[in-house]
Symmetry: C2
Subunit: 323 residues, 2 copies
């Protein structure tokens, strides 16, 4: 894993992935007590940053043959869309409780979906068996160098876009499951804008990365399901990603489901973007943990927007009067 791989991924993504905008609102700045810059990855192709890693990995494959991925939904869509565009078969192992919209979209991108029970089965085992039986190349959601490199392209854009608006340093908060996005951005910023520091955001009770960073070694979550932030519930930090985060990241944040829903409502009101709960935890950290942040500016990655309408309607109906 090095910076050159991220630059190479950026070259492969050009014309396929979107350069997502860096948004802001004086109303959010007021809540946070500093300027908040929102990297709107929900506007990425397939509705999340995962398309970056998916395209990076699929476009780096040699030879022919299909791909296999396991995913709660966003990596699934990223891989499925990238595989379809490259004319490769895609098989995706998804939890039975994945949001309906993510399952439907993954199928619509031409992938075959295989379900498993998140609480009792191992997606890694199911995936490994299927990949071997059908000759598919497994693309892991975060412990995969080309995936990390793809997510790192988001960091290259943050470096360029913050320079354009005159921001020259501060915390960059990224939503964190296994750590592919945060470690990729950390590697990109280390070289392209070293005055920025990555920090992770997770749901409370599923803050394995924050606790691992504190402990200095990988620890596990007790629960494997039960958060509204389905996209970023993982058992433990990645083998590849954790050493990167340990070296480069600041202390992690953990926010409640309610704070994630409030951040979704504020993003709706103030930025006019659609965030899923797991895509809103970095924004929630910036808005509701101002005392844990230093500096006049904070950058947050709003990582995805694939949310079922009923969940979104509840968030904005309950918290949309937070004007």
């Amino acid at each position: 894993m090095n910076f050159g791989m991220i630059e190479a991924a950026a070259a492969r993504l050009r014309g396929h992935a979107r350069v997502t905008p860096l948004l802001s609102s004086p109303f959010l700045d007021e809540i946070a007590g500093r300027r908040v810059w929102v990297k709107a990855e929900c506007l990425q192709v397939t509705g999340s940053f995962k398309f970056r890693g998916g395209w990076s990995a699929v476009s780096a494959l040699e030879g022919e043959g299909g791909v296999l991925a396991y995913s709660s939904g966003n990596h699934a869509q990223g891989i499925a869309a990238a595989a379809q565009a490259h004319g490769r078969e895609a098989v995706i192992v998804m939890p039975a409780d994945a949001p309906a919209i993510k399952v439907a979209n993954t199928k619509a991108y031409g992938a075959q979906v295989v379900h498993y029970d998140r609480a009792t089965e191992s997606r890694e085992e199911i995936g490994a068996k299927l990949a071997e039986a059908r000759g598919l190349t497994l693309i892991r959601p975060y412990d995969e160098p080309q995936v990390i490199a793809g997510q790192g392209t988001c960091g290259l854009e943050i470096a360029r876009q913050t320079a354009e608006v005159g921001v020259d340093g501060g915390d960059v908060i990224a939503c964190c499951g296994g750590g592919g996005l945060s470690s990729g951005i950390a590697l990109a910023l280390e070289e392209a804008a070293p005055s920025f520091r990555v920090r992770t955001a997770e749901p409370e009770r599923f803050d394995d990365v924050a606790r691992s960073l504190e402990a200095g070694e990988r620890v596990e979550n007790e629960a494997l399901s039960g958060s509204i932030c389905d996209a970023i519930v993982t058992p433990t930090p990645g083998e590849l990603t954790f050493p990167i985060l340990k070296r480069l990241a600041g202390p992690g944040f953990a926010v409640s489901d309610e704070e994630a829903l409030r951040a979704m409502a504020l993003a709706f009101l103030r930025l006019k973007i659609v965030l899923e709960p797991g895509g809103a935890v970095a924004l929630a950290s910036a808005l509701f943990r101002p005392g844990e942040i230093e500096g006049d500016d904070v950058v947050v990655v709003a990582s995805g927007g694939n949310v079922d309408p009923v969940v979104f309607a509840r968030a904005i109906s309950t918290y949309g009067d937070a004007a």
Copy 2:
């Protein structure tokens, strides 16, 4: 009104207005039967394209003194935000039934709000009296050259961004109240990308521009209220804007409130952006009037996203399963 004024407005807006992204989704393309390119002006500062015209007009003022505007809400916010940034007082005349979020935001940008009854009072008369009594400069919402020039900067971006994705012509559908946005874009494209043609989109029963284009002269709407598309309900096309549209625009579209709500739900699902009803009628035209459009590509301006949470929640709850 000429192309040079649009280029000059673009220079004044640089670093203040956002270059909004041109979004797309294969799911929308499938519904429309052609490629649909969505210029996401809901992501503009203040949540609508009106900031372009507001900034253009306020930044072109000479001398000191405050400004006055009448508006159902989006022009109000654009003027209020621009005036605040320029250190000028702003007084805004708004209908009593304007969405609460638009009134609250206009006040939050430091403007004084004066209400009137849309069905029985004339905002033009109230505005003229207030402006004279308090020495304020009136900035009309569309019949104002610098406002049209500001909205035209959206057309400059469309010309550049379509070229970047390899689209070299077709219809550009713009939501239309008085015609400031559509006439500004028409003037910009006439010079910058003449193979594109502007077309207007309005709510049914409030399609004064479409009917005026058909009649060759300005006709009026019978009703002045009663559409869910509050942002684009105007009595008749503008004096300055109509001759431009008559010369350059193709036939107008009219869509139902239900079609606008369905387009909002699809923009939520497929693009992860928040549209208000009046901001969704151009997208609705592209999706639900495919037989009235020619060519492989269509560009739509998604003009604003300032919608009350209850209306948005209803749209996505009712039509969000349109996957």
